[in-house]
Symmetry: C2
Subunit: 324 residues, 2 copies
């Protein structure tokens, strides 16, 4: 994995993925006591960065394999990314999703034309269901992060950050990235290593599900004790990826863990100050920048997704949506 | 007023105003039965297009006059635009606002450092208050739309639309624009006349406050019967501007009026499909595109602002925020 692979992915994504804006707001800076730049991946096609990796992986498949169709496991954002990219290629997609995934994510995945197969997270065997389907129909499995073309696709977000940060006059800075399996964090870290080595990725996770932070301290992969109990469904994963962890270990700064409640506070801040819609898992990096500040330095934050059920969003606003 | 003045404004705004993205979403297109492109001015500095005109006007003032400070009348978005631009120039700003303006807009205007003077819309004489203050302190009045530099500033949004529409492969199309006094509509119309004459502006107003639509039919300015009773506070104005109306008359297609309830529906659609936050007045053009469709042609919509109190937004989601 290197920068060439990310540049190649960027060429395949041109005209498909959006170059999302790097937002900034004077009143947000004031609250934070430093300049905060927000890479708004919630404005990406399908509402999260996952479209980048999905389109990158599908476009890299040999044509014959691609035409047989694809399969993915996902609680929602990878599902939508794969389903949307599959529709663009005119191929079929089967997405295996847990029955307790957010209703909006299931509905959207279906709306993109994918066949959604639900399973029970506590009793069902996701891998068995997927393997059987893939074997029967000759589908290609598109893993959510342990796939070099997916990592390269997410890395295109890092290419944009490098260029936009230069334009905004950002010097040395941390780049806080919501982190599940580490596809986005590792892709961005690789891009910044080549294009903006003064910017350092720091993965941000939900408190109690900080396998990456603990793995970075230990130097070897650690596992979360459980897989449910956070509202940050997009970034709850059991353990860092096999391909992603070595990259994270080599390039990233220490991880940060934020409580769910702070993700809700960040959703309200993004609503008022940036006029963007974030989901809890997409808001943890902003939460870290606003509420777990360690320095006065400029900071870049990736707002990785905005596919949120309206009840969760309304709850965030009613709890933390005071005007002043 | 011509394109040169808009190009000059664009040069003064470079590095200050954002080039906002032209968003598009497959699932939104599906709902609408045609391609919808959304110019997301809610992502503009201060949360609305008004910053463009305010910064344009302040930067065009002679330095001596500018340093004495500025004054503006506004229910909120022009207020924030002028207050923010004034702070950037390090000058003082006095903003005369109705006491029933949205709390968020009053709070933000103060947060940018402006002195806010509230008046009672039913009993107070806004002009008298403003004139006295301006005379006493030598402040320059920055009108919200009847000012050529303001119109030129709003026109920079049209320059971006022309370029972005070409890139997106849009041919002949209507450009639906939320319309109060007509500064944004006339500025965009002038820019498109020069740069993309196949794109035609159509002003969109709240039902019952469609003075511009009626004026366009009559050929002479008409006045609204009342000034309260719509949730679209940003675009309730008594009558078209003296400078803007001749431009609107020469260049725009027929106006469209949408009920408040449809603005709320559009807020919910923008939340789910575009992950942006719109205020009611900023959502009327999207409402027209989604709910008052007249053709299958591509359509461009300006989402002009996103400064909305959380209670209004929660109300829109609880009424129209179903997932499917």
């Amino acid at each position: 994995m290197n920068i060439d692979r990310i540049v190649a992915a960027a060429e395949r994504l041109a005209g498909h993925a959006h170059c999302t804006p790097l937002l900034n707001a004077p009143l947000l800076d004031e609250t934070a006591g430093r300049r905060i730049f927000v890479k708004a991946e919630c404005l990406q096609r399908t509402g999260s960065f996952k479209y980048r990796g999905a389109r990158s992986a599908l476009s890299a498949l040999p044509q014959q394999a691609r035409e047989r169709g694809v399969l993915a496991f996902s609680s929602g954002n990878h599902a939508q990314g794969v389903a949307c990219a599959a529709r663009e290629f005119g191929i079929s997609a089967v997405i295996v999703m847990p029955g307790d995934a957010p209703a909006l994510k299931i509905a959207n995945t279906r709306a993109y034309g994918a066949e959604v197969v639900l399973y029970d997270r506590t009793t069902g065997d996701r891998d068995a269901i997927g393997t059987t389907l893939a074997d029967e129909r000759g589908l290609s499995l598109i893993k959510p992060f342990d796939n070099e073309d997916v990592i390269a696709g997410q890395g295109t977000c890092g290419l944009e950050i490098a260029a936009q940060a230069t334009e905004a006059g950002v010097g040395e800075a941390d780049v806080l990235v919501p982190c599940g399996g580490g596809g986005l964090s590792s892709g961005i870290a690789l891009a910044l290593e080549a294009r903006a080595p003064h910017l350092r990725v720091r993965p941000v996770e939900p408190k109690g599900f900080d396998d990456v932070a603990r793995s970075l301290i230990a130097g070897t992969p650690r596992t979360n004790a459980r897989m449910t109990g956070s509202i940050c469904d997009a970034i709850v994963t059991p353990t860092p990826g096999q391909l992603t962890f070595p990259i994270l270990k080599r390039l990233c700064g220490p991880g940060i863990a934020v409580p769910d409640e702070d993700a809700l506070r960040a959703i309200a801040a993004a609503f008022f100050r940036l006029r963007i819609v974030l989901e809890p898992g997409g808001a943890v990096a902003l939460a870290a920048a606003l509420l777990h500040r360690a320095s006065d330095q400029d900071v870049i934050v990736v707002a990785s997704g905005g596919n949120v059920d309206s009840t969760v969003f309304r709850n965030a606003l009613s709890r933390f949506g005071k005007t002043d």
